[in-house]
Symmetry: C2
Subunit: 343 residues, 2 copies
């Protein structure tokens, strides 16, 4: 089903939230899910939301209907788990909602597509404050608004731990999808967007600090370069991927899918001053964060020639057994990515 609180063709019953939903400023904000119930929650998180024109039928029915103008739909799902992907003492619920949306919207961009809608499956404990769910919804909507889409449907269920499963839909606008499998020897490797910032922010939070705000904020809410996905597709990108687990780990998928060597040139990265500062303070080479840090949701792509504006060339594609190298050698700076079940 989809969120059932906002029914088509009937007037809205609940007013728009007028203050921060995280603030416990009135009785309503102290309600729990057990108190308002499943449908009460759904009414609260869907009321007063304006859907974009591409949402042909929004929340309130068994399913939503979304425009797919070129006769195809791009679709992907990402799961975020409390204590694994986020901590509610490190991030606000709204930031968690933004991050969950961003992870999925970046996957759509990495195909060369533009997002068209989000759906959300939420599992959470019955004693969760309704305000927490409203803040999560606000976060999802805020990030969706960055790319002009809406949250068109979802479901909510009780569980022992907060789990957020977000699905994003997208449109290729008539273009072919840019997969991980098209990189060819001779291509230029380029990246667009911040990398290493989220990892630096996580390192700061892990040491018990809350600043510098710039890197901590980057960990809490990534800023994927959504428009760079379709831009790269139009510029002839041969392969593209969203950097969610770390540059080297994610380039591994491109190398294997394309059957090529991807060689990253470390001197190509200009280490931002802030990351250098944080690295000095924590005794970490900031280049390690750039090469292995995930969750910034930057894009990496390969191009037959020079990359378009806004993209930084950082390496080359070569013939050979599928692998990722740094300056022609296997990277030995430590773990290169994130595995959810690794011991």
């Amino acid at each position: 089903m989809t969120w059932q609180g906002r029914r088509p063709n009937v007037p809205e019953e609940a007013p728009l939230p007028t203050s921060s939903p995280d603030a416990e400023s009135d009785d309503t904000a102290r309600d729990t899910l057990a108190g308002v119930g499943e449908f009460g929650l759904i009414t609260r998180v869907t009321a007063g939301r304006a859907q974009p024109p591409g949402t042909l039928l929004g929340p309130g029915d068994d399913a939503a209907v979304v425009a797919a103008p070129d006769g195809r739909v791009v679709a992907c799902t990402d799961v975020l788990v409390e204590g694994v992907h986020f901590r509610l003492d490190w991030s606000t619920s709204e930031q968690v909602g933004r991050k969950a949306a961003a992870a999925n919207l970046a996957d759509v961009a990495a195909m060369g597509a533009v997002p068209t809608a989000l759906l959300v499956g939420l599992a959470c404990p019955p004693d969760t404050p309704v305000a927490t769910c409203e803040a999560l919804a606000n976060g999802l909507w805020s990030e969706a608004a960055v790319v002009g889409v809406g949250v068109v449907g979802g479901d909510v269920a009780s569980a022992t731990q907060l789990v957020l499963s977000v699905t994003a839909l997208g449109s290729l606008e008539g273009r072919e999808p840019v997969t991980r499998a098209g990189a060819r020897p001779g291509d230029v490797l380029a990246v667009c967007g911040r990398i290493g910032w989220s990892a630096a922010g996580l390192a700061v939070l892990g040491r018990g600090f809350r600043s510098p705000v710039a890197v901590v904020g980057a960990h809490r809410v990534p800023e994927p370069p959504y428009a760079a996905g379709p831009q790269a597709a139009l510029a002839g990108a041969t392969a593209m991927i969203d950097i969610s687990d770390g540059l080297l780990a994610d380039l591994g998928h491109v190398a294997r899918a394309s059957g090529v060597v991807v060689d990253v040139r470390s001197a190509a990265f200009e280490v931002p001053a802030r990351l250098a500062d944080v690295g000095r303070a924590l005794g970490v080479d900031p280049l390690h964060w750039l090469l292995t840090g995930g969750e910034d949701h930057a894009l990496a792509a390969t191009f037959p020639g020079a990359p378009p504006e806004g993209w930084t060339p950082v390496g080359a594609v070569r013939e050979g057994a599928a692998q990722v190298l740094v300056d022609g050698r296997v990277y030995d700076g430590g773990p290169t990515g994130w595995d959810h079940f690794a011991r």
Copy 2:
């Protein structure tokens, strides 16, 4: 991202499972998620699966691409939580997978659409046997096969409890969606598919029994009448809904969205002999299961005239303040539906 184990344009690495994945018949079956890792799991659950022609790009990239022939896509998400929606001592993992798929595919059917794809977000403990996940995947695929679609993408993450969030996509084939809001006074209310069976099965399991197999099986794996959704749309259904929470509870959504009275005629239901038997054994009026039992995922629809073949007329739509009645009166047989956070 989508399942990344099956890469486009490269040969499959893992063989098709040849025996029941729930059976711990070899070393492979005793692996846990912590042992094989996130990507090992994804390889195992995606290997050797054949996608239908409508899957333009399957698992293995940042997102999948699915055909949306009439320029629109139907989309919905349902969440199933271990201990809430299912118990792994009452159902096999494969049955849980089937049920999760069925709940979503029925939502697509309830719009008058045909399913085109499934995506799955799975959160589960690191000590979960890989065989359990393979069985869940087998169940999703088995139910998807009933309607000729594939699992095109997904994500997996570690959590303390097994949570399955499934998204279904569908095609309206050029028709208008049948919403909950179109029921008009004078319409005939009709249902298609089994109702009450899952509730009877749950009652049996709750008393510690494992038979009769027919009702227990109905609880474990629903058999939604998928084709009846598009059939009803073609026959001019004015409103339609998937009965997931119970007939009366779900008709409440139709009554409110349409602004009508929905009056159910109890004499219209022929109580199946098996349900009558189980009711006698447990001291329950089986009509209560028919009126309030969820999870069979039958369809209820309203028609301007006689319903099409296979549909049973069970009531009428009348003018008046939105409510659901049974034989002209408010039903007083007990709770009429399921609320996930109700105290």
